[in-house]
């Protein structure tokens, strides 16, 4: 500072404020990638058969959950092990409103997102209020998800362990989000939701609230000494994260026409939200999406290999469990060898 005031002559050599090299084009570049990615992916239903399309749709649901999880755990630094709670709230809100009250799933998506965000904020507030951090925060969120699972299994209004079956309508209906089986709309709608979720991440990361949350994640004491309301910054991250995850839940019920306690609140669901983000790269925009694209088709791929195994793998024919074993091994290897995930590692290589 003193240097420039002492020698103003040097000032004109510095790039001017409107110099194009100083412009922050990060957000614009991310948006371009998003548009291009959506454009490419939206042509997929033209090439995929019905079986492959259902795998792709499941992958999209994973991706939405992982993007949601990443908002809170990646950018917010609060490692949630209980995102099944928020996915489940979405799935059950959708099912309950549709089956018992005939309300359109589009409305349910909004209701579920708000409800789930409120529940998430309440849980996170309690955890942060009592200073739970790190492993304790993860365990507390896990406990809440398990509690929800048990409560749903014991409440009559939610059909206990039987779950909800969505009635199949005789004709296509936009308002009820039902189409012919295998209709490409079943792919395009979650793709649009995913695009919206990624857009939310991009905007959030560059927003003031998002910058605050990342500052709090990196150093809570420093952030609060700069006047950041740490609790508020964190709760905003939690609310966004839970809302996005709940929308994935609503769509899940719509697509599979069924939801039960284990599909919605089971601990496996929490794992499905975490693993794509970890494999792709925690705390990056594209990591969760890339991770889901790796993990989603994996079990299908393993099943295909097992149907006609090459010679040295023939002893595996007819066994079940290999798909998850491969997935688990991939998770372990990635965490140990590339702690920043696929996308994070590649990005760091690129930069350096």
């Amino acid at each position: 500072m003193t240097d420039t005031t002492a020698r103003p002559a040097a000032a004109h050599e510095l790039p001017a404020a409107d110099d194009p090299r100083l412009k922050d084009t990060w957000a614009r570049r991310q948006l371009l990638v998003l548009v291009a990615g959506v454009a490419v992916l939206s042509t997929l239903p033209l090439f995929l058969g019905e079986q492959a399309q259902s795998v792709a749709i499941r992958t999209l649901i994973f991706a939405i959950m992982a993007v949601g999880w990443n908002l809170m755990s990646g950018f917010g630094g609060m490692f949630s092990f209980g995102h099944a709670a928020f996915f489940g709230i979405g799935a059950y809100t959708g099912a309950y409103l549709l089956v018992d009250h005939g309300i359109s799933p589009w409305i349910s998506m909004v209701v579920a997102a708000v409800l789930s965000a409120a529940v998430g904020v309440a849980i996170a507030y309690l955890c942060l209020r009592y200073k739970l951090a790190g492993s304790y925060f993860a365990l507390a969120t896990f406990a809440f998800a398990q509690m929800f699972l048990l409560i749903v299994q014991n409440v009559d209004a939610l059909h206990k362990t039987e779950g909800f079956n969505v009635e199949i309508l005789p004709s296509d209906s936009w308002s009820m989000l039902q189409f012919q089986q295998g209709d490409p709309l079943y792919f395009w709608i979650p793709l649009a939701i995913l695009a919206a979720a990624v857009l939310v991440s991009i905007l959030y990361v560059r927003s003031r609230a998002g910058q605050y949350a990342q500052a709090v994640r990196d150093d809570e004491v420093a952030a609060s000494s700069l006047g950041i309301n740490t609790m508020r910054a964190r709760l905003i991250a939690v609310a966004l994260s839970c809302g996005v995850t709940a929308v994935a839940g609503v769509y899940y019920t719509q697509y599979y026409f069924f939801v039960g306690p284990e599909q919605a609140f089971g601990s496996a669901v929490s794992v499905e939200a975490i693993v794509p983000a970890v494999i792709g790269g925690i705390g990056t925009i594209w990591g969760p999406v890339i991770g889901a694209m790796v993990v989603g088709p994996l079990s299908e791929l393993v099943a295909t290999v097992l149907r006609n195994p090459p010679g040295f793998l023939s002893f595996l024919q007819g066994t079940s469990g290999l798909d998850v074993a491969v997935y688990a091994t991939l998770l372990i290897v990635i965490v140990i060898v590339m702690p920043k995930g696929i996308f994070g590692t590649i990005r760091d290589r690129w930069r350096s």
Partner: protein, 329 residues
């Protein structure tokens, strides 16, 4: 370590269990049980039976949790694979019983070194690098992957069909007006023995001293010449070995499937946090308390409902006394 820094910070210290947690806990439990007898509105025989069942179940819980309390307390690792390691040791016992035809309790003794070696292996090759960087997510994710891996490799080898192992001490007997099966009483006795043995190791041996030193301050322990990595590996090994005891003793009354142990993972965490990190006594008492909560609670909330109570206890403990009953402040 991340886990130790969260203990007793901020507004979390206002529940005072005092200097004698055992007295406080036992008085509370006795009072609550007396209330169930007096005003619970249930048949007395039924209550006695559920108390005995609860204590015996609690013994099993304690066995599983004793291993976990060391791993969580010393390494600060949230070991999600604990339940799967339990399943794995059950299948080791099953393989030894159904293959060479050993008696089940001898097979349990043989499973102990197997699981000890497995635990050392996991810590040494998978977790060491991550625990030394102090990240808590890395080890959690690795053990999560390990849990999935163990369960599915067992599924590939043994298939999903339930298996069972016979016991030389079949049958049951009457105790205090309630029925208890021999194999469950043996498991209970095993929990007490393992608890005492581990307490002695921790208090009386130099290995125990170094484990406690590393738990208190890993850096400080390293400065005075403790080989921290070796202590970590041994601790994980001991944790896995006590799970082997648990698995072996539970095999006679458990129907074996590759996912049978998973339900114990979260229960063990509840118990460990309730008892206090690294406290073997705390894990034992916590196991008994949770066993009682589950069975006596089942009188009022049938089915899985009583587990809601267990998680409610967990959340209360996390919020109000995160250092647990026996945790050092």
């Amino acid at each position: 370590m991340t886990s130790t820094t969260t203990q007793g910070e901020g507004p979390t210290r206002f529940v005072r269990v005092g200097r004698h947690p055992t007295t406080v806990v036992s008085v509370t439990v006795v009072l609550l049980l007396a209330a169930v007898f007096a005003v619970g509105g249930k048949d007395n025989g039924l209550v006695t039976q559920s108390i005995v069942t609860g204590l015996l179940l609690g013994g099993v819980y304690a066995l599983v949790s004793i291993g976990l309390t060391l791993i969580f307390g010393v390494l600060g690792v949230v070991n999600f694979a604990q339940g799967s390691m339990l399943t794995m040791s059950m299948y080791v016992v099953y393989a030894l019983v159904s293959g060479p035809g050993l008696p089940v309790y001898l097979a349990t003794l043989l499973a102990i070194p197997v699981m000890f070696a497995f635990g050392m292996f996991v810590q040494h090759f998978l977790l060491n690098r991550l625990t030394s960087t102090g990240s808590h997510e890395g080890p959690l994710l690795v053990t999560l992957g390990l849990q999935l891996l163990i369960a599915n490799v067992l599924l590939m080898i043994f298939s999903g069909r339930p298996k069972s192992v016979g016991t030389p001490f079949d049958g049951s007997f009457e105790m205090l007006g309630a029925i208890a099966s021999y194999s469950r009483v043996i498991a209970f006795a095993g929990a007490v023995l393992v608890g005492i043995a581990l307490t002695l190791v921790l208090r009386r041996t130099s290995l125990g001293l170094s484990i406690r030193a590393v738990a208190a301050n890993a850096q400080g322990a390293a400065l005075v010449g403790v080989n921290v990595r070796r202590v970590y590996a041994l601790t994980f090994g001991i944790g896995a070995a006590s799970v082997a005891v648990a698995g072996g003793l539970m095999t006679p009354f458990t129907s074996l499937t590759p996912s049978v142990g998973e339900q114990f993972t979260i229960l063990a965490f509840v118990i460990v946090v309730l008892g206090g990190l690294g406290s073997v006594l705390g894990a034992t008492i916590g196991g008994l308390v949770i066993g009682l909560v589950q069975t006596v609670g089942a009188l009022y909330l049938p089915g899985t409902g009583s587990l809601i109570l267990v998680f409610a206890v967990f959340v209360m403990v996390l919020f109000l006394r995160p250092q647990g009953l026996y945790g050092a402040k």
